[in-house]
């Protein structure tokens, strides 16, 4: 934690602290303002006196943490936003990089950018999920090409998993939407998940906002369909599609009930060639399954459709379903209500994220945590008591 915050929290004046450390009051105020970094001896003393709350790191990033965006930064961002709203793809690309950045200064800029970005409510956010290889990218390309013909502008946000081990990633989705990617009114942005769970990045919502501000009226979010991905994406979009493979009745048993509950539209893909007849059976199986299930949305029974993304068959029909759904939702005022819910979810996710960050950065790397862990190792504390102690520190600092 910053020295300034620590002193304020614990109601210690710089004068008092200067006496404790046996340095001049001027020096303390310089440390606080970030005009000078304490030498090693003093750093150690500060560390000790603050029970490890203020460590060397806090001085190094002092300039960033404390910094308010200056006017030039703000002007730059205003200019970026202006360019985005004029449809500059390069600026949109830069803005997305900014909102995805883990750099603290960038995050400040990103917060400012999002706060001045025009918000759009006449767009359609479509979440696409399904097991790897079901044809999500191919489907999006096919539907995307169709929408371009209908004079829509289409953005696709695709999330690729970063390797747990090395952190690197392969962003290959665009290759699988080659025809769409070269179109003028389409924008495809693959993003590495960077260890963020749930099939999205930490900034997928911000990214959606940027794309909408740049004039894209349909935004697809493609995510790999594993684990909790469905819930995360579901809370960011206006309509949630789950793609399915044609398969016999037995396989249906294995399908997670949770997915069907969340889906607004189930699409059996690859309804072509030798799989066509199986696909028809699958559609019926799902229709039956749905009839006994409670949907996540009021007044809407999920629909089941089939298509062949590769042959562009059934795509127009699926668009009719989607736009029909949106129209209906708007008529009943559910659409905006849902957008407000999206914002609420967004808020809570941010709170979650920031608390986690605080714990990661300011508590975990800290002398006190180290000591608590040590007590735990020596059996002086059990896990529950240790956790409570950590939480105590957290509460004390966040009241």
């Amino acid at each position: 934690m910053l020295l300034k915050d620590y002193l304020q929290l614990n109601k210690i004046s710089s004068k008092q602290f200067s006496r404790i450390l046996k340095v001049s009051e001027i020096s303390i105020s310089r440390y606080i303002n970030g005009n000078r970094i304490p030498n090693k001896r003093i750093l150690r003393a500060i560390f000790k006196e603050t029970n490890g709350f203020v460590s060397a790191n806090d001085f190094l990033i002092n300039d960033i943490k404390n910094i308010e965006l200056n006017n030039k930064d703000k002007d730059d961002i205003r200019k970026l936003v202006r360019e985005i709203t004029l449809g500059s793809i390069k600026s949109l690309a830069k803005a997305i990089t900014l909102v995805e950045s883990s750099n603290l200064l960038d995050q400040k800029k990103s917060d400012f950018l999002i706060s001045i970005l025009p918000k759009k409510n006449n767009t359609i956010r479509i979440g696409i999920s399904g097991v790897p290889g079901v044809g999500k990218s191919t489907f999006i390309e096919s539907l995307g090409l169709y929408l371009l013909q209908e004079n829509f502008k289409v953005a696709v946000l695709a999330v690729d998993p970063s390797s747990q081990k090395t952190g690197g990633s392969i962003l290959g989705d665009k290759t699988r939407m080659e025809r769409l990617s070269i179109k003028k009114n389409a924008y495809i942005r693959p993003s590495p998940s960077q260890g963020h769970l749930g099939g999205v990045t930490k900034s997928t919502r911000e990214t959606i906002n940027c794309a909408e501000a740049a004039g894209f009226d349909v935004v697809f979010v493609e995510t790999m369909g594993v684990g909790q991905a469905e819930t995360a994406v579901h809370s960011m979009v206006d309509i949630f599609l789950v793609l399915l493979l044609p398969s016999g009745g037995d396989d249906l048993q294995g399908i997670k009930k949770g997915i069907i509950e969340l889906a607004d539209l189930l699409v059996v893909n690859k309804a072509d060639g030798s799989l066509l007849s199986t696909a028809k059976v699958t559609v019926n199986d799902y229709k039956n399954a749905i009839s006994i299930i409670n949907s996540a949305r009021d007044s809407w029974k999920p629909k089941v459709e089939m298509c062949s993304s590769i042959n562009h068959e059934g795509i127009a029909n699926i668009w009719n379903r989607i736009s029909g759904f949106i129209k209906e939702r708007k008529k009943r005022k559910y659409f905006l209500e849902n957008r407000i819910n999206q914002n609420k979810n967004w808020m809570w996710d941010l709170v979650d994220q920031k608390i986690k960050n605080f714990i990661e950065k300011d508590i975990k790397n800290n002398q006190i945590s180290y000591e608590i862990e040590k007590k735990l190792s020596n059996n002086k504390l059990n896990s529950i008591n240790a956790a409570n102690e950590i939480l105590g520190i957290y509460l004390k600092n966040f009241k």
Partner: protein, 707 residues
């Protein structure tokens, strides 16, 4: 007195010599996963099923002909072609005067992909990596003064096989030959294109129909012509180990047999005219064993179809020494490598052979380097006495045991293919390609960590590089000439005949009711171009879009010492803390260059090192590449270029980036780029060039420094 020693005596003796080491330390696990012992004995021959037999008789393990080289050596057949038909014609004639016995045509990439030379997507490809052929007129020039009823001609053509074979036959007819007199081979092996060679045009289904049409037509009308050359060569060059090469090639062969039988042909109508094509790398005994194993396995496989003609069981093959084993560094070493490989092909019993030139990793061969390559074979055939005895390695404890092991391993892999429903299905699922890419990543990891030595590259590097004269092609000029010839052709032909021919093709494609090769010959005689015929069929068949997956983790997991990687990972962490994200690179392939081994390797290895890696699709235009780079906001574009398109395409890319106000994106290049071109690339703004033999962790460190 001589005592009867046993293997135990030897064990003891050997242990004594080894001191600290154990005998088991001397075992070598080959990349194929076969354990090779330091010593083989009589016992290793026990129970092997393939060892008996004679050359020229089933199961043909010892060779497809009874007398093999003792009567006539293999055919020296050098793969060549560049620039225009007339230039290549001159080159062929020079070769024929100096020992070459059969021709082998290398077409340029525009032709391979079915584009005429005036098509906008091929500005960088005309005449560069092979000879440009747009129509029967070019074909006639290519064989001017070479009688096609006498000369055996092999053609590496798969994607645009219909118009190219069509215009070849048409050129023969206009030379005055009959179809039945034509001898030679058409590669016509589309399955491995989808796997590794990347000059497909149509999707798998219609492509297989074309293959069947060709087998049907040639078996009826061209009895001396090999309808297909089932190729493992490109698999090994793309990274496959020898067992993979063997298994997947035989599995491909089986698919072709099946589609021909489905056409109602009798096995004996076509099986004797199937031929094979192997790559021969530096693992000498493995290669010999592979070739012998292949003959044994193929004969077993074909037996199931009950042929009456013994020739149906005999596997005949062409071989080429491995290009990928040759280095840019200390390039004269390549003469030695090629000699060793050529010997393996000969001991393996090849029917014809191409030897690579020492400038392989720099450019197409010059007439000097081509001469040395040719002479390598002439020396083997005429100075060594190797040819006098048939299958001289038969009975070698090691070679026979290895042969048997390869058969076992290959059968396992073929079983995997069979279990998913055959090779077409396996290719659709991407299984073989994935396995091959894994092998390629493992190989690179061995080289980068110096576990495997390459003289002059990762060990014994020379202090200075010698200057090597290379062939440089003026592709601008070649394209101009081709376009001019196309204009003349189009002015002088009967347009109604052209349209009629194309309409017939379209209808036959739609209704599946007549032979497409027959119609392509007619279309060629009527002066339809390669591009026109291709496009007509594309209207019905569509152009294939590959869906490519990239492996991950294999490179990092195969590196034995983790120090090599941790340096890079640390730099990336520092980068990330500073810039808020990982270095992001877009790996790009532009033009019709389908060499993707290097780009896929770079992509997977860089991701393993901690980069975020975007991958562009094959055959991108510079405009598309620049757009993708800007949209994805990458730090750097890595152009991988091997087919000599760099001098045309990279300048356009730089211009496109400028247009998009994105000059801050750095551009680097890798691949086969002659050192003489480095200054040119640097001048137009390329930050750095990484040539063949680049160590990936070194390159990664340098790149991070650039950003």
């Amino acid at each position: 007195m001589a005592k009867n020693y046993t293997i135990d005596d030897w064990n003891k003796q050997a242990e004594k010599e080894l001191r600290e080491k154990k005998l088991s330390d001397l075992k070598w696990e080959t990349p194929e996963g076969i354990m090779v012992k330091p010593l083989y004995t009589k016992e290793d021959l026990e129970g092997l099923e393939h060892t008996d037999g004679f050359p020229g008789l089933p199961p043909f393990t010892r060779g497809p002909r009874a007398t093999m080289y003792s009567n006539r050596p293999w055919t020296i057949r050098q793969y060549a072609g560049f620039s225009t038909a007339s230039e290549s014609n001159r080159f062929y004639k020079e070769g024929l005067k100096n020992g070459v016995m059969g021709l082998s045509v290398a077409f340029d990439l525009a032709t391979h992909r079915g584009y005429d030379s005036d098509h906008p997507r091929v500005v960088a490809d005309v005449g560069n990596a092979g000879v440009a052929i747009d129509s029967i007129e070019d074909m006639k020039v290519l064989f001017e003064g070479i009688p096609l009823n006498k000369m055996s001609v092999s053609m590496t053509m798969n994607g645009a096989v219909l118009p190219v074979l069509g215009s070849f036959i048409a050129a023969g007819i206009e030379q005055g030959c009959s179809k039945s007199e034509l001898t030679g081979t058409i590669q016509n092996d589309i399955l491995k294109e989808f796997m590794v060679r990347n000059t497909y045009i149509y999707p798998p289904q219609p492509s297989m129909r074309i293959v069947a049409d060709i087998i049907e037509f040639t078996s009826r009308e061209m009895p001396k012509f090999n309808s297909i050359s089932i190729s493992g060569y490109h698999m090994q060059e793309a990274g496959a180990n020898q067992v993979q090469e063997l298994a997947y090639t035989l599995a491909d062969g089986l698919e072709y047999v099946k589609i021909a039988l489905d056409r109602g042909l009798n096995i004996d109508d076509f099986a004797p005219r199937l031929s094979f094509f192997w790559s021969i790398g530096m693992n000498f005994f493995m290669e010999v064993a592979k070739m012998r194993a292949a003959r044994f396995m193929w004969s077993e496989m074909i037996k199931n179809f009950n042929p009456k003609n013994m020739k149906s069981l005999a596997l005949r093959t062409h071989c080429q020494t491995s290009g990928v084993s040759l280095t840019e560094q200390d390039a004269y070493n390549n003469v030695v490598r090629t000699t060793v490989e050529a010997m393996a092909a000969v001991f393996g019993g090849t029917q014809s052979l191409h030897t690579n030139s020492f400038d392989e990793a720099l450019a197409l061969p010059t007439s000097f380097s081509a001469r040395i390559a040719r002479n390598t074979q002439l020396i083997l055939a005429e100075e060594t006495g190797i040819t006098n005895v048939i299958d001289p390695l038969a009975g070698s404890y090691y070679v026979e045991n290895l042969t048997s092991n390869i058969i076992k391993e290959a059968k396992k892999l073929m079983k995997e293919v069979e279990d998913v429903g055959g090779m077409v299905k396996a290719i659709e699922l991407g299984i073989p390609k994935m396995r091959i890419e894994e092998s390629s990543a493992k190989k690179q990891a061995r080289v980068d960590s110096k576990e495997e030595t390459i003289v002059g590259v990762n060990k014994y590097q020379p202090n200075e590089q010698q200057d090597i004269n290379i062939l440089s092609i003026d592709n601008e000029q070649a394209r101009k000439e081709q376009v001019a010839k196309l204009d003349i052709l189009k002015k002088n032909r009967d347009l109604s005949k052209v349209n009629n021919s194309l309409a017939k093709l379209i209808s036959a494609a739609e209704n599946n009711n007549s032979n497409l090769l027959e119609l392509s010959i007619e279309a060629s005689l009527n002066r339809c171009t390669i591009g026109e015929i291709t496009e007509a069929l594309e209207k019905v068949f569509d152009r294939h879009k590959p869906s490519s997956k990239t492996i991950s983790g294999v490179y990092a997991n195969s590196v034995k010492s983790s120090d090599m990687l941790s340096g890079v990972k640390k730099e990336i962490e520092i980068f990330k803390n500073k810039f808020g994200r990982r270095p992001r690179i877009l790996v790009v392939k532009m033009g019709q260059d389908g060499h993707d081994r290097g780009s896929k390797l770079i992509a997977t290895a860089f991701a393993d090192l901690g980069f975020d890696v975007d991958i562009g699709p094959l055959f991108q235009t510079p405009e598309e590449a620049a757009k993708q780079a800007v949209e994805n906001d990458v730090h750097i574009i890595g152009v991988s270029t091997l087919a000599a398109g760099h001098k045309t395409l990279v300048p356009i890319l730089m211009k496109e980036l400028k247009k998009l106000d994105a000059e801050s994106i750095k551009v680097i290049c890798g691949g086969v780029i002659p050192p003489n071109d480095y200054p040119f690339l640097e001048e137009i703004g390329v930050t750095k060039v990484f040539g063949p033999g680049t160590s990936i962790p070194d390159a990664a460190l340098e790149i991070i420094k650039l950003l």
